[in-house]
Symmetry: D2
Subunit: 177 residues, 4 copies
């Protein structure tokens, strides 16, 4: 029996208790209900000095384990991306910069945008698409935009109907992407 | 006598011995020869854990001093931006994210793009323009693109004629921007 | 007495009866009340074949008059940009392509984004900023995003309070930009 | 026997005798040698007033035939995109705007960038990726950048070795995309 492919859902910020983490966990639940096999990586769990200690050819053991388990070991990636200052969080791009370029090659990715304001992080996702294409990652065209996020979430769940269904649709889509 | 305005030239990577630092220092020399008053901030000198310790309302003393001296204390900013993975370095965006948004407001900025390949970091500069406009910074339309950078530099100097003159032209322009 | 500078407000689509035209006219009224001198150019009034007849060194008399009056004769430009297919209207970029590059140089511009959906044309404005910077136009960082536009307009007026005030603030700003 | 899928190679400018057409024809030759089935659409063959006559719900017979044959009738699209004013040609975006949005859905696309200068139209391709993703087209991450194009072409052929091989690699890739 062929083991199903692993998908890593990445919380694209290192903020504690972020809305993006709520969204990521909801995606993961929907994805597993649809038959996918997934795991969560939150950037808040990266080494606090990784932007220095794991760049330019340096590598800590802690980061190596994270890269092996969550990137090398996954065929698909789903990035939950909040909008910070009109773009993606710097820490998310730093994570891409810290992983050897060839590691990303030919993986398949999707994104979900999260914003407190109205734009749903559309610019952040556009710019991150350029980055992922550069490192030779396939990017799905569906990029749900969850704007005014605090109105969509209750406790640990995305409860607003349209947002819920955008997440579910992407989960179904990613099972076979 | 009115003291002339301070300009901070920012090396947009935390790499040691970067080409971007060579370019930044050359800009600074030209800028001072043209009558400007400038100082250099290299992101390699940020606290190694600033992406965690200085985000989301937290602030270290070390970072506070840097922000006060180099951002609050400057009216103009010049960013030297290498292209990492088809965009700006993550650490540069993290620095923007780590500084209170209102601190940036109404400053005047320029950029110089640096790439080892042919594009001269044009995409990185476009995307960074979106970020700077978001935090209400004026951005000059001149964005010199220094492509194939290692062919333009000898030791501590940009010696290739066209690149040299692009840097000089921007320096002259920024004195009165 | 020095004559005040002319500002051209450009409706960035060739659609008849567009919401963008309503927004452009409201901006113009506010701008004139603030002491500015302005005129309106709607792309629907361009020659119907200008994308062929006025490109690549060709020039019709009709287009020459438009360029002279509305671009050469203006020091400031305000583009009202609806979002078409996740970007600016093709016809707006075609207009930029059809005008000699040097004509744009050193003008000062602003943008207002208009969308039927939630994003307020933020991506369209980002991408158009890249284009304007390329042709050496100064671009103001204020880029009001009017999302869900049909809820903001009654008849010939933008009546929703926040949108009204964003337009007014930009008008005041542009008088002295 | 299953008929192989049709691919339309689109010359993304309406300029007569463009370098982009040379590149498009070379791609088509390589694609057919690799076993693909292709056809060429040059935007110079669109109706001269299509930006007015075929927008906003209007449709000319001539344009309908083009859309049916070249877009509806194709499963894959390859866009050859020159850089005009730091972005894609306005006429290319206008073509996307003029075709009903649902027509594009779930097609598979690739791009080749062409520039007279050094950037290889990288920004134009990034921005066009945003547009294609918006209309739900899959976009391949390989986006060959042909910079300084006139040095790469002799007569009707791309003869420079690296450029030739980038085109060939993409042709092989697209046969099975």
């Amino acid at each position: 029996m062929k083991e199903s492919k692993m998908t890593t859902v990445i919380v694209g910020t290192n903020r504690q208790g972020s809305m993006s983490e709520v969204v990521a966990k909801q995606f993961l639940r929907e994805f597993e209900m649809a038959g996918g096999r997934g795991q969560l990586l939150a950037l808040k769990d990266l080494p606090r000095d990784f932007a220095f200690a794991d760049m330019f050819g340096n590598r800590s053991e802690e980061m190596q384990v994270i890269i092996d388990n969550y990137i090398v070991g996954a065929e698909r990636l789903v990035f939950v991306i909040p909008e910070y200052n009109g773009g993606f969080p710097g820490v998310l791009k730093t994570f891409v910069d810290a992983v050897p370029q060839a590691t990303w090659r030919d993986k398949k990715a999707a994104m979900i945008g999260v914003s407190s304001g109205p734009t749903g992080a559309s610019r952040a996702m556009d710019q991150f698409t350029s980055v992922l294409h550069y490192v030779k990652v396939h990017v799905h065209y569906l990029k749900p935009k969850l704007s005014n996020i605090s109105a969509l979430v209750e406790g640990e769940f995305v409860t607003e109907k349209r947002a819920e269904s955008l997440i579910k649709d992407l989960a179904l889509e990613m099972v076979s992407f």
